[in-house]
Symmetry: D2
Subunit: 458 residues, 4 copies
């Protein structure tokens, strides 16, 4: 039941009251949906940086004692996405390093597109890489830039000119906490306040947990600096156009998060409404696939005036299972996570709303759950367009070969997933799900219109 | 954010194809909501019983290797409810024991009410107790009865005459798998089939995962025996009246489970509908408290024709946290788990539907989440009557002193939880939520009408 | 490289200063050589008994927090011997139980010989067994006896009349700490004092760690009671004859322990001296097999006036390894633990002194280490007679079929282990290794002269 | 009971039969005495490098599954020394990195003395450091050098010209396995063969475990290269003079290891003999402090013709303890590890032989153990001269302030440790303990005669 994975969530805080690590713990728990592979916290105490990180969920890696040992006034934290297998302990962030000006801790969400050139260039000057993450490249560039640059923030700013791709960054130096975002604005990053503490997070849901108030988004291209409680915004790199990953709205972000002036739940609902308008169906009930399809289902239902009903129950206790199912058992694996409510769906004509179809196999299994439970008709409505292109900006949307929509017509997909009808949100409608949004969007996974040249990666 | 806990879920299987432990693993994962403290599986291989159990979630206690080592044709499994602290490793089930006729494995869901007398009686004959669970008492009585009784099933049957209270039992001997249920029918237990395999589980949701089909409920008082694939039902202890814990419908069971002919989601929805009829309110939206309030909210919404909206987002990754919050931090603890969707609730008059109020503190915090998010009015509707009496039949509804409804009028509770209005499902309506049910109900926590004399426990 | 295993070490303390659990921890670490499979501590705080136990070494099972939580004025602890595989968590001690008079914690070292009859008898009255240890049988008998007996110590005393076999016991009740030893005195148990604290341990080496002073041995058959600091000795069951396992001196006990008036190192040395006298050899050096052969080698060397040299180095870091070697790799497994010092042994005629030969395979491998390192001659001298009979009193000397000396002459064994000559300590000499000892010995593994009728077990 | 720690042991193997990781596991277990903090193995399979490493003992970090996953024909492994506290997971080796020419795995034993300059120089070109180990510096330099150098071995060779200090290195590239040693030869590194496999290890004891035969030492300054089974030795950096850390003989190495043509046990014995000659005493017995004092005690005894007796028993099960003793409990901590055999030492005049005195506190406690056990006189003989200078070449001999011999005369130390007499091996004698050795020695911790300029570090 493999879904797409967001590559990471980040959190940072300047807190003169010394509760930095505890708030970061709470923040990371709130961002856990953005990454379950590993996590870490680095704190700054009297200009010294201490850190702890490991593979695992936030509540498995940390405990009371470890948190208490991480005392300090500034902190950055990171959650990393979940993969199966592989010894990737080295990749767990924040990356803590010593360089010409002392110590840095870097937490990074995103993916560079000129990794190869940057890495080659660095290797030519003798760089060694101990991780497989872009974060290390960024760290090198900052370190190199800092040699001839008067401040860490200027080094960050200058480096941004040669970085291509997606990155939301938190950088903690002995004296400063810096937030920065690529000029395209691919990945979200926002700022909040709680008393005299200043907080950064990938999503605003992390603010709610600690009672911080959302202030504003870090602007695409902006470098925001905190030093001793004083703040400074460097906007030299800012651009007029922005390209927030629209899939943050469709799938990645938590529905209660506010992203660029739009609450995710609302944009998803709107996607559902457009879907209902665009692709109506004569049905008895609307059923969302939990959890990511629920908001869009609510929207579809409202527009279509077809009752929205709880058609699935999701098992809340399997963030992970050790079972590696063979082909025959993959159905069981889906059934461990999801069960159809037969009383609800039996003999019903159903609009099943989900967020996306990647390879098609999971969708087929979910349709099948409804059929086995007695559904008369299953009309699948997807709250995003078909995936046609890979993503290079921090998600794991796979290569074109693995994207079912690249090889099959919608009707073929419909047959493969055993649906009575199937439709995807149109591109036009997609672009209208966030009318109040202050940003532009990247929709390249649907259109191939990459905001950056990625020919070398295709 | 403490809720009531069900004390355990049980699962058993006779499977001539030797996949008993794997199915039991899947079954226990499906029953995980009934207990998160510990779990175990005992299998029968060639008349020998092997077992593995420990504190922790099913996916933490077991791994591929352990499951493969537990090969066999019969198995019983158990999940135990979650407590904080305490070295209760001894209490993890199944209880595996050697007695005069060989080996037994017992998995038990419920609570006896004549524990004290039974224990005293046993102690007088020299019994020693290594656990604090009633299961051990039952095991002793069966072992003692078996001395002069020709079969294990007759021993079980006879012992049932002296057991008072709630128990759904699975007993595995070298040759047989036995399911039994107290004559009052307090705790659910059902039977299913998958090919020539026969399965038992606390709830039918465990059947769906492994593609077994629900056959029927074990009747109150029934002893059901499987030996070499042949089955036998002993109904000597069966009675006409039954008293299924009505809180299984309201809160404990998974919404997709079928309990005594009624799907839980439907009974909860009906509770919501009655609540809407009984206690209407002029409101803009209905919001269910996830996850247990969602079905009733759907019902309230349907009846009241007020839109049912997703007003809360629940964090899916905190089955547990190591943080032991002090008084000041309890709000944060609730906020780690639940966040209100401000766009949805802002300036709205809200019907907030939840399943119950125990002490009132958590309800107050949840109302507060809505208020902070901008709700104009919060009308709390509870899909069960006020708790007035403790439960002695396998749940941890606390003593009268801790039940807020015992000390305060509904209006006082309303003020304490900061609601604009508050109502509970009436007793009369409660009794109508499961019209198709084939059983009677125990509602003693609301009425004090205990089906068994429990004066000595009050 | 499998050696014989002692089945357990026990420790108990009455300490009015409340440091009971810490002292027990230190004591168990000192007794760790008597058992590495699991361990546990039970403490008595204000008449309540709390405990913690698990599989693993003392330093793996316990930590600072757990120890601090186990506050109290009395404690009993236990280390259990190491086996490979098997889910024996249930068997870890102390056994903590509730019975007619409250709570008991029992720690037991030994093995009963009338287990079968006792168990049958108990099962006839309905007993159930949750462990496979004799301790549970003893617990049942005490509980049953206590019904009609005025005190726990009298119950212990009375039960001793029907127990046959080896047992050194510590029993902690809400008010009392009791030490008892079978009337044959198979397993050691001694008493010490530290200020107003009174301590019991299997071996005196546990006293040294905590600065307690050895007082005296618990006599065979004695029941020693501490209540509120007052002591009482019940000697009704004491007998004139005693039968301490002579293998405690040869192998099990730590060389620094005082057992029945003889320091183990001295008795081992004496065994080596007798061996030198009994079986002289024209050799260049004496080499002891570490660690258990070192004392006897010192004795052989002193008597024979042949230099005692360090011929082997033992790896200090492999209490355990996860490698399960196949036949081909067993040599490597021995080499992980032991290496011959080629400079020392090259071209030398060597007397290699070890404590015993069970199956002969390990001895052969050790001789081979010397040969590969260049030894000219290897004369094996064993500081005990050949094993001819199994042990039923708490060690795992195997059945006759597995004892090499039962099937082969000494010369055949010599050939099998590739030694130039081989001799075992004579029975006569064995009986003289502890001239100052206040006890008689059990030598049944060498002679078949069992102090108790064990015909039914052979 | 803190002793000095060696900073690491290394092991490498080229094995065309594909058993590289298993042999490395065995080798690291044999080298475990050189480091207990962490360990790791990197293997080369078809030119790809995979690795696994973590904090902990070899038998705790690895298991059967992990080893089997590390299949390959070449491997390097590392054990790291034990410290208390500190999150040093980053420092665990081998260091695996990607650089301009692909992947490298580096295992390093030693310590550089021009770290500061090298680091500064690297930082000036933008280097970032993720560990606090010198290994990373070496890796950088190799990577930088490789840019303009035709082969990895030439890069290693060239880098050696700017490295000052102690280093024995194993470098594994996609095609090659390289062993190198600093031109001073501070740390040992030797080569062995087993069939067509070629093995490197810090000490020969690792060869014995896997039945490899010692071939020769890697020469100071040598770069030894294996590629596809073909070997090449580059000796451009070799020098005539060498400076093996003499403390390898006195304390660090395992007694069964052959170091530069001398078996460690023999050199220690010789130290003991010289000590006996240099500082005779009228005594009854010689007692070595286990384990490192045992060889020297044997030597003292042989020369002085005073019987060498086992006066201490060491607990074999406490590689670690979680107890952090307060001042009052430090005696207990020593007693957990060591106990005096009172029967042996009572009323005796004792020569107690140990390898060194650092701060004096542990020595005082050990003398005290003998006194409490009844020793009449305790004459302490130390098989090395007094520590007067810190070490910068890979051991943790502390700063001058912490070295007792810097602040006190020998007689003062004698009084502080409560000995009747005290003497240290003279420098002259120290230089004669390894007459057959093919190398020179570094004795700077005793003399301050550092083979390299370390003024900047003092």
């Amino acid at each position: 039941m493999r879904k797409l994975h967001e590559e990471c969530g980040i959190f940072g805080i300047y807190d003169p009251n010394g509760e930095a690590s505890k708030s970061t713990y709470y923040g990371l728990v709130s961002l856990q949906h953005r990454g379950q592979e590993g996590c870490g916290i680095a704190v700054n105490k009297d200009r010294e940086i201490y850190h702890y990180k490991d593979l695992g969920l936030v509540n498995d890696v940390f405990n009371q004692q470890i948190l208490e040992d991480l005392e300090g006034n500034m902190a950055v934290g990171h959650v990393r996405y979940s993969t199966t297998g592989g010894n990737l302990r080295e990749n767990v962030q924040p990356l803590v390093l010593r360089y010409i000006k002392g110590t840095l801790a870097i937490a990074h969400n995103g993916n560079l597109t000129n990794t190869y050139e940057l890495k080659k260039e660095l290797e030519k000057t003798g760089a060694i890489f101990q991780t497989t993450s872009d974060t290390e490249i960024i760290a090198y560039l900052i370190a190199r830039e800092r040699i001839n640059t008067g401040s860490i923030e200027d080094a960050v700013k200058n480096v941004m000119n040669i970085l291509e791709g997606a990155y939301s960054l938190l950088v903690m130096s002995p004296n400063k906490l810096i937030a920065a975002r690529d000029k395209w604005g691919f990945r979200p990053l926002c700022m909040g306040k709680k008393g005299d503490a200043i907080v950064f997070a990938s999503e605003t849901c992390a603010f709610n947990t600690i009672d911080a108030k959302f202030e504003r988004n870090i602007k695409p291209g902006e470098v925001f600096v905190i030093e001793q409680g004083k703040t400074k915004s460097i906007t030299d790199n800012c651009s007029d156009k922005s390209h927030l990953c629209i899939f943050e709205h469709i799938y990645f972000a938590r529905p209660d998060s506010l992203i660029e002036n739009e609450v995710v739940h609302e944009t998803r609902k709107r996607a559902g409404m457009f879907l209902a308008k665009q692709s109506p169906v004569n049905a008895d009930i609307v059923v969302g696939v939990p959890d990511s399809g629920l908001s869009a289902a609510e929207g579809y239902s409202e527009y279509a005036k077809i009752p929205n009903q709880m058609g699935f129950v999701k098992n809340r206790y399997i963030a992970r299972t050790f079972i590696k199912p063979n082909q025959k058992e993959r159905d069981t694996a889906v059934k461990m996570k999801l069960n159809a409510l037969s009383n609800v769906v039996k003999d019903k004509r159903i609009v099943m709303v989900d967020d996306s179809i990647v390879r098609g196999t999971t969708s087929g299994r979910i349709v099948n759950l409804l059929r086995e439970a007695g559904a008369k008709e299953v009309h699948v409505r997807i709250s995003s367009p078909p995936f046609l292109w890979p993503c290079f900006f921090g998600t794991d949307i796979p290569s074109r070969d693995d994207l079912i929509a690249n090889k099959h017509t919608i009707d073929e997909i419909r047959q493969m997933i055993n649906a009575d009808s199937l439709d995807f949100l149109s591109l036009e409608n997609l672009h209208n799900i966030a009318p109040n949004s202050t940003c532009g969007f990247c929709d390249s996974c649907f259109t191939g219109n990459y905001p950056i040249n990625v020919e070398h990666l295709l």
